[in-house]
């Protein structure tokens, strides 16, 4: 028998019986524009990103410029949030820290996101011994309490931004891998995945074009809160003396440095703390919103 011959008779009897339908204009975008979480979160994160980008103009002083004659000044018109122990302008440092922290958060999360998604996809898609081995590795890494692992790794790879980067790369991918693995398992069992396979498509094509677009959503949503976790972990490492190198302005070290003055200059640690909280709120809202918007109907 030859390939099915296609009659192009226009409207067949079935076309008459066709149920109605509408093809709407880009629905995801419209949904995004109607999603309150996404809009609020987007506004918050957008503002922060804008501040970060415009830091050189918004900051009124060089964040590293010391003025040892004017340390620990109270907020004034000259220094909106006062100065720190080295007479540096706190507002300027806060603004530059936004740039640093957001960039750190996003870049640090990038590798675990990519690697974890890859591993999770492979484990979930191929199953069998690949899955068994990868799952056990994931289990092993998950067995270590988060901070215990991060701290040990920071000792192994060294402090500073490089150390943080590597430590998170090694510790953080498992969460993505686990999430993506389970969503991939679900996706793989969907009929459309079976159809793609029996359509003669290669595994690589099925993974990249069919499975990933469905599974990556969750990873993206988690990545949003993960950025906050990373900022928090950096803050906490700073507290334990393993954090960012001075004099880089960073909310974490500002919280940490400021806590010595908690009783006399409360804002020194509270305001950077609030910045982390606001970032957290913004990114969580974006995450929630994205989850809503990207969820297929």
């Amino acid at each position: 028998m030859s390939a099915p011959e296609l009659a192009t008779t226009g409207s067949s009897e079935q076309a008459v019986a066709l149920e109605g339908f509408v093809v709407r204009s880009h629905p995801t975008l419209r949904k995004a524009l109607r999603n309150r979480s996404l809009l609020t979160g987007g506004a918050i994160v957008g503002t922060l990103v804008l501040i970060a980008i415009l830091a050189p103009w918004i900051a009124r002083y060089d964040p590293l410029q010391q003025d040892l004659a004017a340390t620990l000044q109270l907020p004034s018109w000259v220094h909106w949030l006062g100065t720190d122990e080295l007479g540096r302008d706190v507002w300027s440092r806060l603004v530059w820290a936004a740039r640093f922290d957001l960039a750190t958060g996003f870049f640090v999360v990038l590798f675990p996101f990519a690697f974890g998604t890859l591993i999770g996809t492979l484990a979930g898609y191929y199953g069998g011994w690949i899955d068994t081995v990868l799952s056990r590795i994931i289990d092993v890494v998950m067995a270590f309490p988060y901070y215990v692992l991060i701290i040990t790794l920071v000792f192994v790879v060294g402090k500073g931004i490089r150390g943080i980067f590597i430590a998170f790369a090694l510790a953080d991918w498992v969460t993505y891998a686990r999430t993506v693995r389970s969503t991939t398992l679900v996706a793989r069992r969907m009929d459309w995945a079976a159809a793609a396979r029996s359509g003669g498509l290669s595994d690589r094509r099925i993974i990249v074009h069919h499975i990933l677009p469905n599974t990556i959503t969750q990873a993206i949503v988690y990545a949003m809160s993960d950025v906050v976790y990373v900022i928090l972990a950096v803050v906490t490492l700073g507290y334990l003396g393993l954090g960012i190198q001075a004099p880089q302005p960073d909310w974490g070290s500002m919280i940490f440095d400021g806590q010595l003055f908690m009783t006399t200059r409360w804002w020194l640690s509270t305001i950077p703390g609030l910045c982390v909280v606001v970032t957290g709120i913004g990114l969580s809202l974006v995450g929630d919103g994205l989850a809503d918007v990207l969820r297929p109907e």
Partner: protein
């Protein structure tokens, strides 16, 4: 059968943990012998110590020795304190276990009512308010929360000790309240979020509707039908998060000056006291494995379906 299967599954994980811990720690730069002997140590003295500790043996020999010791339930003798790590760890375990346990209790006591209330009042004001909790809570570093709690409750109000864990059982509990609260606040956001979703699912289930239509009291509907079904996801979630709670002890024990496993680990890692770090990390990881196992088993006992999946 299910129990056996779960136990078997844990074996490769435990082995993996052991391997990872051993080799990870060997990668940490810094010589423990030099660290212990200090400024005036001669190279000969350092070498003698290294020989005694077997630090110059090939790594595989060291690993084999380590496994042998581990088989006897020990991770060796602390380089720094010259006592068995088993003794050392055993003396610290009560603090950490009590802290984690109390923190778990607190997180449940805080999260469950909040989540339930939010779910019952879905989309109304209490729900919206409670849903803000995870958003705000997510971004607060626990050492900072701890500090604020100390300033507020210990310094300003004088209700709790500033730190430490006292001598008597009552003092232990009393001293652990703020630290446990600090730890708990670290996971409450996640718990509230997931529990609310889980609770909503249960509340909307048909069997809850059926229970109501039987004519039984609403309290029984909530406590027997809803609670029991919501229990399993709560438990599982808590099981997963206890790992995080344990990690948080590293920070919280420091903030509140508690001498538990977390502070032992921080000290030991600075001292390059490998046997102790090995012991503590293995204990931490094993605890996580055991807790996961126990929560799974309890969940299976509560929900008989789990045994099949």
């Amino acid at each position: 059968m299910y129990v056996l299967r779960r136990l078997l599954q844990a074996i490769p994980v435990v082995l993996g943990i052991v391997v990872v811990v051993f080799f990870m720690l060997r990668l940490i730069p810094g010589d423990p012998a030099a660290a212990l002997l200090g400024t005036h140590a001669t190279p000969e003295a350092i070498q003698a110590l290294r020989d005694r500790w077997g630090l110059d043996e090939p790594i595989w020999v060291q690993f084999w020795l380590f496994l042998q010791q581990l088989a006897q339930g020990d991770t060796g003798t602390s380089l720094f304190y010259d006592v068995s790590t088993r003794t050392l760890i055993a003396s610290r375990i009560p603090v950490t276990v009590a802290l984690v346990a109390l923190a778990s209790v607190f997180s449940v006591l805080i999260a469950v009512p909040l989540a339930t209330y939010a779910a019952v009042r879905k989309d109304r004001l209490p729900d919206h308010a409670i849903r803000m909790v995870p958003l705000v809570g997510l971004g607060m570093p626990s050492f900072w929360v701890g500090l604020v709690l100390i300033l507020l409750f210990s310094v300003q109000l004088g209700w709790f000790p500033v730190g430490g864990w006292g001598d008597t059982f009552a003092e232990h509990v009393y001293g652990l309240i703020l630290p446990a609260l600090t730890s708990a606040l670290g996971i409450v956001p996640l718990l509230v979020r997931s529990l609310r979703a889980g609770m909503l699912e249960v509340l909307e289930a048909d069997y809850v509707a059926v229970a109501r239509s039987k004519g039984i009291r609403e309290s029984r509907v909530l406590f027997v039908h809803v609670a029991r079904n919501a229990f399993v996801p709560t438990l599982t979630l808590l099981g997963i998060n206890i790992a995080f709670l344990m990690g948080a002890t590293v920070v919280v024990e420091r903030v509140f000056q508690l001498n538990g496993l977390g502070s032992l680990m921080l000290t030991a890692i600075s001292n390059r006291d490998f046997p102790v770090v090995q012991g503590v990390t293995i204990i931490f990881a094993l605890a996580v494995v055991v807790i996961t196992l126990v929560t799974d088993l309890v969940a299976a006992a509560t929900d008989p379906r789990i045994k099949l999946s």
